[in-house]
Symmetry: C2
Subunit: 217 residues, 2 copies
DNA sequence: CCGAAACTTGACCAGTCGGTCAGCTAATTT
DNA sequence: AAATTAGCTGACCGACTGGTCAAGTTTCGG
């Protein structure tokens, strides 16, 4: 059987040539996705570059050609997840309505657990094991961002829109309660008897938090 | 330097002999604790029996003598954690006051995160990776226990002591929000700038949940 | 006090892992 | 179309892992 490069195969199937840049992006995406799946299932140490390569349907040497080391690949996976993660927090602005902001945050955060459970678990695994690669980020960027949000909640409280709350611990609660549907899916699905995250999850959490924080509608 | 058995050393230090049974219990406890620490830091795959042995200050062969395989040792660590975990849920009884039960549950659960962070992380790690060894337990015992609690909340709601709530998702929220201080300690301590779990954590969570669920005092 | 059973441990092994590399093909540039 | 660059991959390697074992030592029932 004739050997053909992935680019050649792809070009033949789609009947148009692929540029080197396209092939590289395609391969990198394929490997990154396979890596996320394997890392989420086995953790950093348990994951093998061979199984990542298998899932991506590539020779192992190819994975190393694109990303060098397993550690570098892991870091790339993590940083892609981080981007998803931080951008969610933008709803907490003084000019926004606290009820709407909280409801929106909970809704999108649980939606993220629904859409990217694999990525969420890689992140959770990293943090559980002491965040060796994310410690710096957590102590600088994340901490700053949370302190800004603390200011937003203080302003809302001053305006009488919401009770005085400890914003840091509120964020911890929100992160935990929303991500549990992705990170601890084995637990929630075992209890619920279903893999699906029902809408009541977000609805009830929103209600509890809004009433619990005395948010004025 | 003269070589002496652990039992002999211990007996010499405490100036009284140790029976075989005592030595065995002592060794098993030492290995189990070391294993919990190593498993929590590296996960099942990342943990090595050699590093467990090092932490327990024993030769590696000794670890295998007492527990056979790494998997058997892991299962023992898990089952010890489970015992801690389930017993907490006994506060949810119809005859108890919902406000007191919830406050007590949150308080003891966060206390557990403070006292046994290592064990909590081993459990979290297991669940994140799909609970290969706990799946059966989650689907039978835990699910049953949660369904009983569901009945308790229904009874409380009928008696007008609390709003109608989805008990399953409330439990998910409570588990997540309390364990986050142990499991994601790298995150919470990075944001708080301290390893300690402040009392406001339990206090605020209790307040939010009580008000959020419309618990009548 | 003696023989059996339990405990201890250094040395060892087969298997697996991350990573390398030579030698090849395909795409791009000149 | 030749030369150069990028992409591809089977075969290989040193390091490490879980687990074994033989040869000892210690404990303890009888």
């Amino acid at each position: 059987m004739e050997r053909r490069s992935p680019a050649a195969v792809k070009a033949a199937v789609e009947e148009r040539p692929m540029s080197r840049r396209d092939v590289r992006r395609l391969m990198e995406q394929r490997i990154l996705h396979a890596a996320a799946v394997v890392f989420s299932e086995a953790g950093f140490d348990g994951a093998t570059t061979a199984s990542i390569a298998d899932l991506a349907e590539l020779p192992k040497a190819n994975v190393h050609y694109y990303f060098g080391t397993k550690e570098a690949l892991y870091k790339r996976v993590l940083s892609e997840i981080l981007d998803l993660w931080i951008s969610q927090m933008d709803v907490f602005q003084v000019e926004n309505d606290p009820a709407e902001a909280l409801a929106e945050y909970i809704r999108t955060k649980i939606e993220l657990s629904r859409t990217y459970p694999v990525e969420s678990r890689v992140f959770a695994n990293e943090v559980i094991h002491g965040a060796p690669y994310l410690k710096r980020f957590l102590r600088t960027k994340l901490r700053q961002r949370v302190e800004e949000i603390e200011g937003v909640f203080a302003a809302w409280a001053d305006a009488g829109q919401v009770d005085k709350v400890d914003a840091k611990h509120l964020m911890f609660t929100l992160w935990a309660a929303t991500q549990t549907y992705a990170d601890f899916a084995a637990q929630t699905s075992a209890v619920l008897g279903s893999q699906q995250i029902p809408d009541v999850a977000a609805d009830q959490l929103t209600q509890i938090v809004l009433r619990g924080c005395g948010v004025r509608a």
